[in-house]
Symmetry: C2
Subunit: 341 residues, 2 copies
């Protein structure tokens, strides 16, 4: 292309070249040339963990490395709640459920007298502790079903446009972790496909994944309701039914990844909270060839929230299998983007 | 880039530019320049149907057209059996099932005495006509389950490497329709994502989709067995269970597309045989904005096989909804690639 030494580049030419870098085959060509000196992960603290990530991405994309991974195999999957955005005090989707119960009760006052809706409206967390996951599941199914896919996604978008986090008082979509946004972008620029594989409803996450994470709807793997095809005014619709089709958590994650992607991820991001990402990380570890698992530890009470698992299963698994633990407090220069907090 | 008039291009430069055309954003930039005169669909007969396809792709990728479709929405889905490759006298996957029953019976002779395995081994088609789809389903489940995903895909690849079509005496993977291969390639070069959405087992199709069609494993939507996670020698595996999870046919197709892609296809290819693609085509037709549905009619006894639906449902639906009917006899200059037949 005769432009190796043609700096400074005109802005539109720079944009064009930056765009090309997203292409695996171009990346391959570029990786043999001197790397630009700009840090692709400026919000990560300089240190061993950051170096592990940088080395891994460089080795797996360098055709002369024995750890080279062909572009077609460069799959990276990330949990969402607690890995890409805040999940405390409750995951954002739970606030969506509570807002939706309010709407439903306004249209059908009898609902407010029935459990678990009554407890949801009154913020009666003792009820939910006692009733267990079945009560939450009933809320989930009721608030997520009974409409077309198109209507559901529009509903989620309306919620996210106005709702604010109860403690941090910002829109939920502003509470994404800046270091992870940088990692997603750098992986894509290095020829990796970035996927979300999380416990939330697939279509809830699809409503914002492209805008917030640069992840297209077809690359979002989540929990699923049953569906059916309906015709309304001669138009065929996919309708959300009140029944669970798949729970994308724990061992459901490798199954979801196999069903949706058809190969093992090379890089996985997850977090300490409920052991939900261990199976996805082990599945990645079991691939033939290099792999990297990043387990985010929420140890930053000052800038976010500090919380741990009761049984310590995720950190135990990290020691056993060699997953890398990311300390939010030590490994992240900042947590959120806009405020620099 | 200063290369508009710099022909003749060096070969490596031509390759680079051809590769770039696969990128939606580059395609968008290029589409405002004069189009190359080479016919992107040389195996399609010049005429109204070909012109419809060419016009549609050009309109939907031209930013100055009112029918412009943003690159992120350019989804094309294709049935496989009878749309991208031969499905007569039986779909290739049925020959895989029969070969597998032979293997299973060699290891377990008692199987050869039990139905439906006995009938399969003896080629007793009368039995299957009488026993109905349940018998076929039992063969399907037995031959497709009881192994890891990795082992299953390797098994399919071994089968396809040696098996030959019983009438046309060529490997199954050579019996793909050349006009459709050209269409898939041109769509991708025009910024469309090409997907397979077919009734066969997802992982059966994944075993050859990239090599034969240029379609990556994550873009194959098919029927699915139930799965579970197992550990073998400390390695986590996804295991194929003997139970049906989803049948990707008829109304199962819009549901599969919604689950996997999350939006309606702009362009759909299917074929006349069992009405299996009508719902997928109606679903596409129901999108906001332009769409095109191509229904392949097998009317070419000389070069392939001539067959029709008993109830004519697909052709009726084409008339009702405006799907375009592709006559293999009239609209395809040739059917297969290598022989030019």
């Amino acid at each position: 292309m005769g432009r190796k030494h043609s700096n400074p580049l005109a802005p539109d030419r720079r944009r064009f070249i930056a765009g090309m870098a997203a292409l695996p085959f171009v990346q391959t060509a570029f990786s043999q040339q001197p790397q630009p000196s700009a840090d692709p992960l400026p919000s990560w603290t300089v240190g061993a963990l950051k170096q592990t990530i940088v080395d891994f991405v460089q080795r797996t994309t360098n055709p002369r490395s024995s750890d080279f991974v062909a572009p077609a195999e460069r799959i990276a999957t990330f949990d969402n709640d607690g890995t890409l955005w805040v999940e405390k005090p409750l995951p954002s989707e739970v606030y969506f459920m509570l807002a939706k119960v309010k709407d439903l009760a306004a249209r059908d006052p009898a609902l407010a007298q029935r459990q678990p809706y009554k407890a949801a409206l009154e913020g009666d967390s003792a009820y939910f502790h006692e009733a267990g996951p079945k009560a939450i599941l009933e809320l989930f199914v009721r608030t997520h079903s009974g409409m077309s896919q198109e209507d559901f996604r529009a509903e989620v978008q309306r919620f996210l446009a106005t709702a604010r986090h109860p403690k941090l008082d910002r829109p939920f979509t502003a509470l994404v972790y800046q270091p992870m946004i940088e990692l997603l972008g750098w992986l894509r620029a290095s020829g990796y496909e970035t996927w979300i594989c999380s416990g939330g409803d697939t279509d809830f996450m699809r409503a914002f994944a492209r805008k917030v994470y640069g992840v297209a709807p077809e690359r979002v793997i989540g929990s699923e309701l049953k569906r059916e095809v309906r015709r309304e005014k001669g138009r065929l619709l996919v309708w959300r039914l009140p029944g669970i089709e798949a729970v994308n958590d724990k061992e459901g994650k490798p199954i979801g990844i196999d069903a949706r992607i058809g190969r093992r991820p090379v890089l996985v991001g997850g977090n300490v909270m409920s052991g939900g990402d261990i199976a996805m990380m082990e599945y990645s570890k079991g691939r033939d060839g290099p792999s990297l698992q990043l387990l985010i530890n929420h140890d930053d009470e000052e800038r976010e929230f500090a919380y741990a698992e009761k049984d310590g299963a995720s950190l135990d698994a990290a020691r056993t299998h060699g997953f890398k633990v990311v300390s939010m407090r030590n490994d992240w220069q900042r947590v959120f983007g806009e405020t620099g907090r």
